[in-house]
Structures are given as C-alpha cells and as structure tokens.
C-alpha cells in the first residue's frame, strides 16, 4: 500500500517534470525571435543608411516655443490661440503647455536606384523609455513648405522636423529636466528597429522680442470668442442648411455638374488660385477648357460646388476646407479636387488650413473630378439624378448608410 502510494507520487512528480520541460521548450520556441524587437541605436555624428535613404542629422535644438516662433514666422499661426481648437474649448492653458519644440534638421540622400519617398511622418521622437510623439503635420508643412517629398536616385533634400514637447504629455520630473532626457528618432521599424540618438541637443532660449510675439499669439481675448457652436457630428443636413466650424458658416450657393469636360469653359470660373493642390493649369488646354487626367471621353464628370463662407467672429479664423463629395449610395469621390478661393481667404501652399479674415464673407468653389470605373457594375457608377452630399468631419465609413439616413459619426450636407 505504501509502495503503491510512493509509486503514484513518483509518477506525479515525473509527470510534472515532463510537463514543465515541454512548457519550457514551447516558451523558448515562442520567444526565439525576440531579438528582432531590440532597438539598435546609432549616433547622430555620422550618416545612417536606411531603406535606400542616407540620413544625416544636421542640426538638433531644443527651442523654447517663444524662441521657435520668433525664428520661424511661417509657423506662427499654429500657435495662435484665436481661431484655434484651444479657443473653441476655452483652453488657453492647453496651448501654453507646449513650452518647448524639439527641432531636428535632417538631410536625406537617395542612395538607391529607385525613386524614394521620404516618410518623415513616420519619424517619431522618443524621449527616455516611455515618451514618443509624431511630428505635427501642419507645423511640418508650414516649416518646410512641402507636402510629400520623393527623391530621385542620387539627389538629396533636407527636412526640418519640429516636435511639440507638451508639458501635459510628460511626467513632471522628466519635463523639468527635458534637456537631460535621452531623445532619439526612430528611422526604421521591425525587424530592424533603428533609432538615431540625439546627443548634441542645443537649448535655444527666447529673447524679449520673441516673447512678445509669442504672448500676442497665445493670449486669449475673450471678447473674440466664437458665438456659433460647431455643427455636431452624426448629422445629415438638408439642402439649404448651414455647416458651422470654428465660427465660420458654410452654405452651398450653387453647384454644377459637367459631363462633357472637353468643351467646358474653364474661364467661367474666373481666376484660379494655385494653392498647391495639383496645378489646374497643367490640365488646361490653350483655349481654356479643362482636361483632367485619366479622363476617358464621356466617362468622367466634374462637379463644381460653390460654398459661401462667412466668418461670424471678430478674429481671423482657420478651418479645414476639404469636404468630400458623396453620392446617395455612400460612395465618396476620392479623385482630384481643385479649389478656387475668393479674395477674403488666405491660404499658403501645401497647408491644410485656410484662413478667413474677421467678418469675412466670400465664396469658394471646389471642383470634384469623378471618373466612372468600368470595372464596376454600371449601377454603382455615379448617378447624378440622385442626391449628392458634401461630407465634413471625421467618420467611420463602415457605419455610414445614407439611403437609410444613417450618417454614422459624419457630418453630411445635401447639395442636390
């Protein structure tokens, strides 16, 4: 009896040992590729070659934000409280919390045989072990005056990267000693994760003039707060209704659908503004008619929508002007758009933000190029006898069902 019990105990122990060994082998197998996630750090003293691009760090500075806006006037509107997202939410402190800008000037050289795009939006900054941030695309566009850069083999280009160091995103102790943090920029991902360590960060303090400029930008003037609330998300507005964003009202004044593009008189639209979106003149014939690219005769359309924009506030307002055109089935026009701005708008090339002066009242015309897709059944082509919508705001396309009146989280304005 005792022997039987002892044997049973031995078997149990053996079973446990075997299971433990099997478990250990399996876990070791699952973890065999863990080294691929190790970060490989390189110094900023020498160029580093990654995916056909040779990257050199030419400058690295930690600016006080006031110093940054003082040195780079083109970025000032990104720190303007009036007309900003912060003003909409009465959050002056939120804007002031961006106390530093980490600036890195990177030179890229194409050392491959192919055209190489520069994926600068992917180059996140890492601080210590737990902070990371991407580059602000509006800041990047204003700083560099570019929107998407590709390099031919052998050519080089520099990009100025500006990372906002927001106090609210950092642990307070680490923010106090920001210059001492171990900053690096990721330039390559899994399975060869590579960071360029920024070991020569130079602090740049603001002088008095820069501080004055900065204070003027970030200070709230409560008398200029917008009166109208923004249009809420999850709405389908009817013909004639008004879309409101950041104190600017937009209504559809007119629309025009042109299906014979070869004969369209481009001059009807008046002077066109070259705002950095694909150059309309490239597609304009000598007689002024427009020929969009990829057009097959009789199978393409232009939908021209004229929006009347009114700034109801006492300050210049920035807003995004990139509504998509949707047909009644919920299909969006994803092809080229062309924009003609009235005189009361300001817009810089490659910027996603349009500015309208205080109490401004003017029109903007947006032209949507629609091509019919012969690979789709005809019933899915655009039917211009049916309703058309403009879409503003962010949404999940999967939840939109316009025929059933479901806008998801989008903002739709019916134009037809």
């Amino acid at each position: 009896m005792k022997q039987k019990k002892r044997r049973k105990n031995y078997l149990i122990i053996l079973g446990i040992l075997v299971l433990t060994a099997v478990y250990g082998v399996r876990v070791a197998y699952v973890n065999q590729d863990n080294d691929k996630t190790k970060i490989h750090y390189v110094t900023d003293d020498a160029p580093v070659e990654v995916q056909g691009l040779e990257i050199t760090i030419e400058e690295e500075k930690l600016y006080e934000t006031a110093a940054f806006v003082g040195e780079f006037p083109s970025v000032r509107r990104n720190f303007q409280y009036q007309g900003s997202f912060f003003e909409q939410h009465q959050d002056e402190e939120g804007l002031r919390a961006i106390e530093y800008i980490l600036y890195v000037k990177m030179r890229f050289k194409n050392v491959s045989d192919e055209l190489q795009p520069i994926p600068y939006n992917d180059y996140h900054i890492y601080g210590g072990v737990s902070y990371n941030n991407g580059v602000n695309p509006f800041l990047l566009g204003d700083l560099n005056q570019v929107s998407g850069v590709s390099l031919k083999p052998g050519s080089s280009y520099f990009i100025m990267m500006a990372y906002e160091m927001n106090r609210l995103s950092f642990h307070p102790d680490r923010y106090q000693k920001l210059l001492e943090q171990d900053f690096s920029i990721i330039v390559s991902g899994y399975p060869d994760i590579c960071h360029i360590r920024l070991s020569h960060l130079e602090p740049v303090k603001a002088d008095r003039e820069a501080r004055d400029i900065y204070e003027n930008l970030v200070s709230a003037d409560k008398s200029k707060a917008p009166v109208l609330p923004n249009t809420r998300q999850g709405i389908i507005m009817d013909i004639g209704e008004t879309y409101v964003t950041n104190g600017v009202m937009m209504t559809v004044e007119d629309y025009d659908i042109v299906d014979n593009l070869n004969d369209y008189d481009y001059k009807k639209l008046g002077a066109a503004e070259d705002d950095g979106i694909p150059d309309i003149t490239h597609y304009t014939r000598k007689d002024g008619s427009v020929k969009p690219r990829r057009l097959e005769k009789g199978k393409g359309y232009f939908v021209f929508v004229t929006l009347r924009c009114q700034n109801t506030t006492e300050a210049a307002r920035g807003f995004s002007l990139s509504p998509y055109l949707y047909n009644y089935t919920g299909k969006a026009s994803l092809e080229d758009r062309y924009v003609w701005l009235g005189e009361q708008f300001q817009h810089e090339k490659y910027s996603a933000t349009y500015m309208m002066e205080a109490h401004g009242d003017d029109t903007v015309t947006v032209a949507y190029h629609i091509t019919a897709d012969p690979s789709l059944p005809k019933k899915l082509w655009w039917d211009f006898d049916k309703p058309l919508y403009l879409s503003f705001g962010i949404m999940d396309p999967g939840k939109v069902d316009l025929p059933k009146g479901n806008p998801g989280t989008g903002i739709f304005l019916r134009i037809k």
Partner: protein, 287 residues
C-alpha cells in the same frame, strides 16, 4: 494555529471552486485572445497585412509583434475577459476561506476552539489565512493567464509606436512598462493580491452581523460594486477598487500614483483587520 487553519483552508471546497474559476477565466482568455483574436482575426503574432509588408523587404515603422504583456488577462483590452476578471475578484477572493468564520460560528465549532485556544490567536490565524487565501485566489487567474498565454505570445517588451494599450509617459510607472514590464505587472499583481485579501477579510468582518451564509459570501462583491457607484457619484471614481488594481485603466494611471493605490489598499486592509480583531476579542456572545 496558523498551520491548522491553513490546512483547513487548503482542503476546503472553496479552494477548488476558486481554482476552477481561475482556470476557466485563463482558459477563456486564451481562447478569446490567442485563438479567436490573434490566430483567426489577425492571422498571427504579426498581422497578415504586416507580414505581407515585411515579406517585401520593408521595415515599416509601426509593425510590431503582439506581446505577452499586452496579451494576457491583466494587460489587454480587446476581449471582455479583462473587465470580467476584475469584477469577479471579490467572488474569487471570498471563495476559499472567506465564509469559514461564519461556518465556525454557525456550527458551534467556534465555542470549541475558544475553549481550547486563546481567542486572539485564533482570530489572528483566521485573519491571516483568509487574507492570504483571498490574495492568492484573486491573483490566480492573472498569473495563470500569463503562464498559459506565454505558450503562444512572445514576451517582448511593449513598444510605444506599436502600442495596443494606452500607457504614456505622464502615467504612473510608465518607465517600467516600456523597459521592465515584468516589474510593472508584478506591482499590479501585488495590488490585486492586497485587494483580494482585503475583500476576503471583509467577509470575516460582516460575519459579526450576518445571519446568512450566502450574504457573507456575497458581501465582498456588494461592497466592491457599491464603492464603485458611491465614488462615481462623489466624482472620485479614480479611487474605486475595481479601477485602481487594473493596469489597463488609463484614467486612474493618469490621476493616481501607484503609491496612493497601495496606501488605499493598506488603509482599508488595516481597518478590516482592526475591526475583525477588536470586535472579535471583545465579543462575548457567540452564535
């Protein structure tokens, strides 16, 4: 006395119940996360789409394998098992030995014990064993899930670029999360154990006024969710027990340093200890 109570605890049906629940939770999470989400939905530790990009020779920033630290019941938020686990903690904690004091009183066994042993020794041993059993039972699914999911998900350090959770620099212990995640989750395991022990000891305290076995069993759960509700109404829900012990709760990590979490748990644990011992020693009437 402690050893005696310990043996009683280990042999109780409640321990088996707690182990079974832990196995079900951990097993359910493995099926829900590893099998259904990773294998079926995503196509593996690295998603199908990401693997196609990698096979083309690109090193795309943002691709990162699933990690065990974000892939076990305490560290992930894709399946509902994380929430289910944290709401089952009071049940898990009380099962092994929480109602034993009530049973001892109800059966008359307590009179016998008090006639043989010093009251304070019994009460201390009872509290210690109940606290420990609650601590272990509460943390068992957490540890089991980690061990089981390690069979499929690699234990790579989480990466901010490919993060599937919401730990940012400003949060408590964020530096550990991205460098030594085993410390991060180990600390939370300690918090869960403290909370489990505290909840189990609440069952001991309520025995003094309870007249029903099931009420004693349910009391820790009722207390747990009541505290949630009361603190929510007071605008202090960042201190609710179910939130402070959950490493996935970003709101708490932003507003409550980990030291405050332990302070709260130790404070509540001390109160339950003092109540149980003080009342127990002074109490003359035994049901």
């Amino acid at each position: 006395m402690f050893r005696f109570e310990g043996k009683r605890c280990v042999r109780s049906w409640g321990v088996k119940g707690a182990v079974l629940l832990a196995v079900l939770l951990a097993g359910g999470h493995f099926l829900g996360y590893c099998v259904w989400f990773l294998v079926r939905e995503q196509g593996g530790i690295i998603s199908r789409e990401d693997r196609e990009i990698l096979e083309q020779g690109a090193a795309y920033i943002g691709i990162y394998p699933a990690t065990l630290y974000e892939g076990f019941i305490g560290g992930e938020g894709y399946t509902f098992f994380n929430q289910l686990y944290y709401y089952m903690i009071p049940i898990l904690a009380v099962l092994p030995y929480g109602a034993s004091f009530f049973q001892d009183e109800d059966s008359g066994y307590l009179k016998y014990i008090y006639s043989m042993k010093k009251k304070s020794r019994y009460l201390l041993a009872k509290y210690a064993v109940t606290f420990l059993s609650g601590a272990v039972a509460a943390a068992l699914p957490y540890a089991l899930s980690f061990a089981v999911n390690a069979l499929y998900v690699p234990a790579v350090i989480p990466n901010e670029m490919a993060q599937h959770t919401n730990v940012i620099d400003v949060m408590s212990m964020s530096e550990f999360y991205y460098s030594r995640p085993w410390i991060y989750f180990g600390v939370y395991m300690a918090a869960i154990m403290l909370c489990g022990g505290l909840l189990a000891s609440l069952a001991l305290c309520i025995t003094y006024v309870a007249k029903n076995f099931f009420f004693v069993l349910c009391f820790p759960f009722l207390f747990y969710i009541s505290i949630d509700y009361i603190l929510m109404e007071l605008g202090a829900d960042q201190y609710s027990l179910s939130r402070i012990i959950n490493p996935m709760n970003g709101y708490v990590k932003l507003h409550v340093p980990i030291q405050h979490v332990f302070l709260e748990l130790l404070l509540l644990g001390s109160i339950s200890f003092l109540v149980f011992i003080a009342v127990g020693i002074r109490r003359e009437r035994v049901l």
